[in-house]
């Protein structure tokens, strides 16, 4: 037991010193990373500002009839579960699928796009596509479907 405690203490010292090296070098860097990551609040696509919102903000807008959720993931992912009432407009076949979705979109609609996680690019690709078509009221739920589902917010999933 004493051997394990001794080994653990020495492991902790190695961990603390190594972490200190990493943080010290970050301080000395010409482009230091901020210690606390702050997600960007918006991005600009061809002159249009697209808000980047978290799942809580998206949930607040869920019951607004002028808000539509747009799932940009693959057909397989969408069929396994999606935000309740979300439209399906996947990044990889957006042109074809848009013909189906277009009648459901109005000028007043706020479109909240999402894919599976914070860093996936599919929602941004579809946002760029929609901006090119003239849609201006767009937001991206950056945390993605996984965060929405984990928060216990309304989803549609196949039974069983």
């Amino acid at each position: 037991m004493r051997a394990f405690v001794s080994m653990s203490i020495r492991a902790f010292i190695i961990l603390a010193v190594s972490s200190g090296i990493g943080m010290g070098l970050n301080l000395a860097s010409s482009k230091p990373l901020p210690w606390v990551y702050q997600p960007p609040k918006e991005l600009t696509l061809e002159g249009t500002t697209v808000a980047l919102i978290d799942e809580k903000e998206a949930r607040k807008r869920f019951d607004d009839p002028d808000t539509l959720f747009v799932d940009t993931r693959t057909r397989e992912e969408y069929s396994e579960g999606h935000v309740k009432r979300a439209l399906f407009l996947p990044a990889y076949e957006k042109e074809e699928q848009f013909l189906t979705v277009e009648p459901l979109l109005t000028e007043d609609s706020l479109l909240i796009l999402y894919c599976h996680g914070p860093e996936c690019e599919m929602a941004e690709q579809v946002a760029g596509f929609l901006v090119q078509l003239g849609y201006k009221k767009l937001a991206i739920m950056s945390a993605g479907y996984e965060a929405w589902r984990r928060a216990g917010y309304p989803v549609e999933e196949p039974r069983g």
Binding site: A3, S18, G22, V36, E146
Partner: protein, 156 residues
């Protein structure tokens, strides 16, 4: 057994040094990879990306040289357990993400999958062997006795 432990040390040490290099060079990219796993709060991803690669690097070098071998192996074993948990979690929840294990060049590595789980399980066991069976053979501390700390014998 001593040769087996030596080989284990060299494998795990080299692996950790290699894995740490890209993360040290590009912590912002590694921070992205951490966020993709959705395990840590997003706010913590930068601090993890700044510290974890250096722990990997130092532990890896210590294993190769035989400096504080068992504490270093305890760290690599703990880190491999965390990585394994993250990969199993990502796989089980169907996250379609890059492993981020060795670089954003992870494109070469592909998405997390069963092979990553098997690979990390193997590394975890090899690292655990060092913790359990290393007796200080083939180490700098053995070659230079003045570097050796007073060791408490295993099992004491």
């Amino acid at each position: 057994m001593r040769y087996f432990v030596l080989i284990a040390r060299l494998i795990i040490g080299s692996l950790f040094v290699y894995a740490s290099i890209y993360k040290i060079i590009d912590p912002a990219d590694f921070s992205n990879a951490i966020r993709n796993y959705l395990i840590l709060p997003l706010e913590w991803s930068n601090i993890a990306a700044l510290t974890l690669p250096w722990i990997e690097f130092v532990a890896g070098v210590f294993l190769i040289l035989g400096v504080q071998t068992r504490p270093a192996a305890l760290l690599t074993t703990g880190m491999l357990a965390v990585f394994l948990y993250a990969i199993v979690y990502a796989y089980a929840t169907g996250l379609d993400i890059d492993c981020g294990c060795f670089g954003s060049a992870a494109d070469a590595e592909g998405r997390v999958g069963i092979l990553h789980i098997l690979r990390d399980s193997g590394f975890f066991l090899v690292s655990l062997v060092i913790v359990l069976f290393d007796r200080g053979h083939f180490s700098i501390e053995q070659a230079v006795p003045s570097l050796r700390q007073r060791e408490v014998s295993p099992g004491a």
